[in-house]
């Protein structure tokens, strides 16, 4: 779904707006409420304007969730260390491995 180039923004109907809304959000910076092409339409359709405002608030607040808020328990690192030590021990066995069929000097 991409934004058609021949949209008549001045005579847009709410159902047409609904159809293109995902692409409008995806196409720009997300600030549809400030898109000059939609100024007239949003002024004439307050429900659509309210929807746009709400979705913009949700998207903006979501960006604040990027910063981590939780920390794993110490058990996670202990398990990782144990597994890495196992790996290391296995690698050491591999390094020391001598092919029993290999001729001795």
């Amino acid at each position: 779904m991409t934004l058609p180039g021949n949209i008549d923004f001045d005579n847009l109907k709410p159902e047409e707006f609904e159809h293109i809304l995902p692409d409008l959000f995806a196409a720009g910076s997300g600030k549809i409420s400030q898109d000059p092409r939609l100024k007239k339409f949003l002024a004439a359709n307050p429900d659509c304007a309210a929807l746009v405002s709400d979705l913009e608030i949700i998207a903006e607040t979501a960006r604040s969730l990027f910063e981590p808020v939780a920390e794993p328990s110490d058990r996670v690192w202990q398990n990782i260390q144990a597994k890495l030590q196992e790996d290391s021990a296995l690698a050491s066995i591999d390094d020391d491995y001598i092919d029993p069929g290999m001729p001795l000097d």
Binding site: L51, I58, T61, L65, P68, V69, A70, S73, L84
Partner: protein
């Protein structure tokens, strides 16, 4: 589609997302720790773990929805990282690489559990479960702002497919072409899912008292102990 081949490679069908690099600036001491970890230095592994554990764990917790599964996945992600760290060539930010690895592991787990991430709309969002878009009636609107705790609880209440796309795009900063590559769907599907996720969140946020508790802590980073 199996994501196995994508786990530790930096090749991606999608273009790198410059925004993601901006959000993942270099961390002091990280490059040295990576170089030392490539030589098998155990202290360097510990340093990398401490630098990135909160971001990886928070991502896992948000996507998987429970502490135990998130801890197991965090462990899995770091083990993959440490075992394959020599394949990191520095073409992207280390944290970007690590997060892509984590996302792929989470997606693999969800697929194993039977969550079909390809046919998102049919499997996760049956028609009667889709958010309503009532343009014809006056709906109460959000009151100008949403606090992050309430949004976190609403995100936790989303169906898994919606939550996945919303977290990847709106929280983690992935672009639609990247999400399409990860989920093996079209960019149009990704856009559509994101839009439906936001519509569902709007519905949920109108009745915050009915929202379940989020598995994520509410304050600054807290231990899950």
């Amino acid at each position: 589609m199996s994501c196995q081949g994508q786990l530790m490679t930096q090749a991606s069908p999608a273009r790198p997302n410059p925004g993601l690099f901006k959000r993942n600036p270099p961390i002091a001491g990280e490059a040295e720790a990576i170089a030392a970890a490539k030589r098998g230095d155990a202290e360097a592994f510990a340093k990398l773990y401490n630098l990135h554990k909160r971001r990886v764990y928070t991502l896992c917790l948000r996507m998987l929805g429970n502490v135990s599964a998130a801890e197991d996945m965090t462990q899995n992600a770091f083990l993959h990282l440490f075992r394959k760290i020599n394949s990191f060539r520095g073409e992207s930010a280390f944290s970007t690489w690590l997060h892509r690895l984590t996302v792929n592991l989470v997606l693999m787990q969800l697929r194993k559990k039977g969550l079909n991430l390809v046919s998102l709309e049919e499997t996760i969002n049956p028609e009667d479960d889709s958010p309503r878009r009532d343009f014809g009636s006056r709906d109460p609107v959000l009151t100008g702002s949403v606090d992050r705790v309430t949004l976190e609880r609403a995100v936790a209440a989303l169906p898994p497919g919606y939550r996945m796309v919303f977290v990847l795009h709106d929280v983690e900063g992935y672009e639609h072409n990247e999400i399409a590559g990860l989920l093996d769907c079209s960019t149009g599907n990704s856009k559509s899912q994101l839009h439906k996720a936001r519509l569902r969140l709007r519905e949920l946020l109108r009745n915050p008292s009915k929202l379940p508790q989020s598995p994520l802590p509410h304050g600054p980073a807290e231990s899950a102990k």
